[in-house]
């Protein structure tokens, strides 16, 4: 089983996307079918960007075994007060600065739920958020 953990720094737009790129490279080398690769890439990228623009920093855990891929994004940060609202398309708490860069459209969490085979999210206000996604191979 391949098991890796990558730290993600808050507010670091230079490195944003590096982690999902590395995960993509792993999948490519293993010959994961492209339709699955695309869904994992979309979800990992969204999770990574969320960590950068919304949290105070966190990590992405990544596991590949024969039958499934697991991506888990955990952060320290403000947390999500109303998860149902956050899961609605178009709802965003991104700052103006971030929106001017083209991010913060409010599609990240709904995209992740739609693309993953299994999706779980939990959050504590004032502490942080934990998202797990599973993709069946």
């Amino acid at each position: 089983m391949i098991k890796e953990t990558y730290p993600v720094k808050a507010d670091d737009m230079t490195c944003a996307g590096d982690v999902s790129a590395r995960i993509k490279r792993h999948m490519k080398r293993l010959g994961i079918p492209s339709s699955i690769m695309r869904r994992v890439s979309v979800c990992t990228y969204e999770a990574e960007i969320n960590l950068v623009i919304h949290s105070d920093g966190g990590q992405i855990d990544f596991e590949i075994s024969e039958d499934r891929i697991l991506v888990r994004a955990r952060d320290v940060g403000p947390g999500i007060p109303d998860i149902d609202k956050a899961m609605t398309e178009g709802w965003s708490t991104a700052s103006n600065e971030v929106r001017n860069m083209g991010f913060g459209a409010g599609m990240g969490l709904p995209n992740m739920k739609r693309n993953a085979d299994e999706f779980a999210i939990s959050s504590v206000v004032g502490e942080g958020t934990d998202i797990s996604m599973i993709f069946h191979i």
Partner: protein, 458 residues
């Protein structure tokens, strides 16, 4: 699928110094240095010619056909790439250049730009009438098609299934000549005058066709000096059907998308840039993009490895040529209409063998784990001294049995240091020592241990 795949890019061993220049610049990590000479891994090489451009020893070459190979055919026809029109200082029109081609021994000249006009029309029809996965990816640059086969096989479905302008020109040129002069088409040869090494490969091992329509590929640099002499001598005007500017602009980045008439198109030149964008396209980062034109060489075909003129100067000159070129086509409507059906690729473009992954998923995961561990054990400098372009590539080679950890200069250095320390201890333990000897011995061992960067040996 394994027929031998032809490669036009070769190494002249005698000239190779065994330096790391081409090793580091190869976009698909297809080069290794072994026994002080470069060697090309055929399943990864895309014949882009980057190594040809960067090798200061001129050890990397492209094999192309010599000019006198045209004598194989009774009726050889020249197919000049529009790049040719930008190669000669002081010459800003195609006419004298076309006239010089006749003087080289060709019986006729059919501009590849005419092929490009026709392919432009066919592509724009197909884009309007057919439902295709977006973005549609141009098949004009053979190095990029090959790159997609090796590194981005998931995008093969997006590649447009029309032949390149070179193939279109060859097919139509031979048919029209045979018909017009009442000769056997088998006696008519089509010869592409090329800026590009990958085009040679594309003719010998075509992607998507069983056989190329082109019979030979002659490098621009190989006809340059002779043509220059002819150009100085002046020319008699010819009666010849000329290409319109629509076809000629394909030689410039962005020209193809313009010619096809697509609004939401992206043109990227330079192989590293194309790779980055293809990666992004694969990650669905360009959802609204309709057409992607990827060119391996900076400045497009004008920047090919077999050109003579500086590609930026050539770009200016070609704009001057285009300003003097008609907008109207001379070709008949039927030729355009037919093309939508007859200029298609006849086969699927297959992923390269380099992507064929062996074994079950479990075996692949275990292999990946071993390679990761090996990579972690290497310094991570990607210096190329071991003969592999990156530490990760060396790890892959070690795993496949082609290399050894001690090929790494830094690991070898560590090993020598620990062996040296062992030998000192061994030497000391076989001698009768005075108290002073023992002190000196301890000092030496301490020093060796510190030099070892704190990595103790067992």
């Amino acid at each position: 699928m394994q027929e031998t795949y032809y490669h036009s890019v070769r190494l002249d061993k005698d000239k190779c110094k065994g330096c790391t220049t081409c090793l580091k610049r190869c976009p698909t990590e297809a080069i290794r240095i072994r026994n002080n000479k470069a060697t090309i891994l055929p399943e990864r090489c895309i014949d882009c010619g980057e190594c040809i451009k960067v090798c200061e020893s001129h050890a990397k070459v492209a094999v192309t056909d010599p000019l006198d190979s045209i004598r194989r055919f009774k009726y050889p026809i020249a197919l000049p790439a529009p790049t040719l029109y930008a190669q000669f200082q002081g010459v800003h029109q195609p006419e004298p250049i076309i006239a010089s081609l006749f003087r080289l021994g060709f019986v006729d000249v059919f501009e590849v730009a005419r092929g490009a006009e026709i392919v432009s029309y066919a592509i724009s029809r197909a884009m309007r009438e057919e439902d295709r996965p977006k973005p549609v990816i141009s098949s004009a640059c053979p190095a990029i098609v090959r790159l997609i086969q090796v590194n981005f096989p998931a995008l093969l479905d997006n590649v447009i299934d029309f032949v390149s302008p070179m193939e279109a020109a060859a097919k139509i040129a031979k048919e029209e000549y045979a018909q017009k002069h009442g000769v056997d088409i088998a006696d008519v040869g089509a010869f592409f005058i090329t800026p590009c090494a990958a085009k040679m490969t594309a003719v010998r091992s075509p992607a998507g066709l069983t056989k190329s329509y082109v019979d030979g590929v002659i490098a621009i640099k190989d006809v340059y000096t002779q043509m220059r002499v002819f150009l100085k001598e002046g020319f008699t005007p010819l009666e010849i059907d000329r290409a319109s500017v629509v076809g000629i602009k394909w030689a410039v980045p962005g020209g193809e998308a313009e010619a096809v008439g697509i609004k939401s198109a992206l043109c990227v030149d330079g192989i590293e840039n194309v790779m980055n964008v293809l990666e992004a396209i694969e990650n669905a980062r360009f959802r609204n993009l309709t057409y992607f034109e990827g060119l391996a060489c900076v400045n497009g075909c004008l920047g090919g490895p077999l050109t003579v003129e500086n590609s930026f100067v050539a770009k200016n000159r070609l704009r001057s040529v285009m300003n003097r070129t008609t907008l109207k086509t001379v070709q008949r409507r039927e030729v355009f209409e037919d093309a939508v059906h007859t200029l298609r690729l006849t086969q699927e473009i297959e992923p390269s063998d380099a992507m064929q992954l062996v074994g079950t998923m479990k075996q692949r995961i275990e292999r990946e784990e071993r390679i990761e561990r090996l990579t972690q054990g290497l310094p991570g400098y990607d210096c190329g001294s071991c003969g592999a372009p990156t530490c990760r590539a060396l790890a892959e080679d070690i795993e496949s049995g082609f290399a050894n950890e001690l090929n790494c200069v830094f690991r070898l250095n560590d090993r020598i240091n620990s062996l040296a320390a062992e030998m000192v201890t061994l030497g000391a333990s076989t001698r009768f020592n005075t108290l002073q000897d023992t002190e000196r011995l301890r000092e030496m061992q301490e020093k060796l241990r510190c030099d070892d960067d704190g990595e103790g040996d067992e």
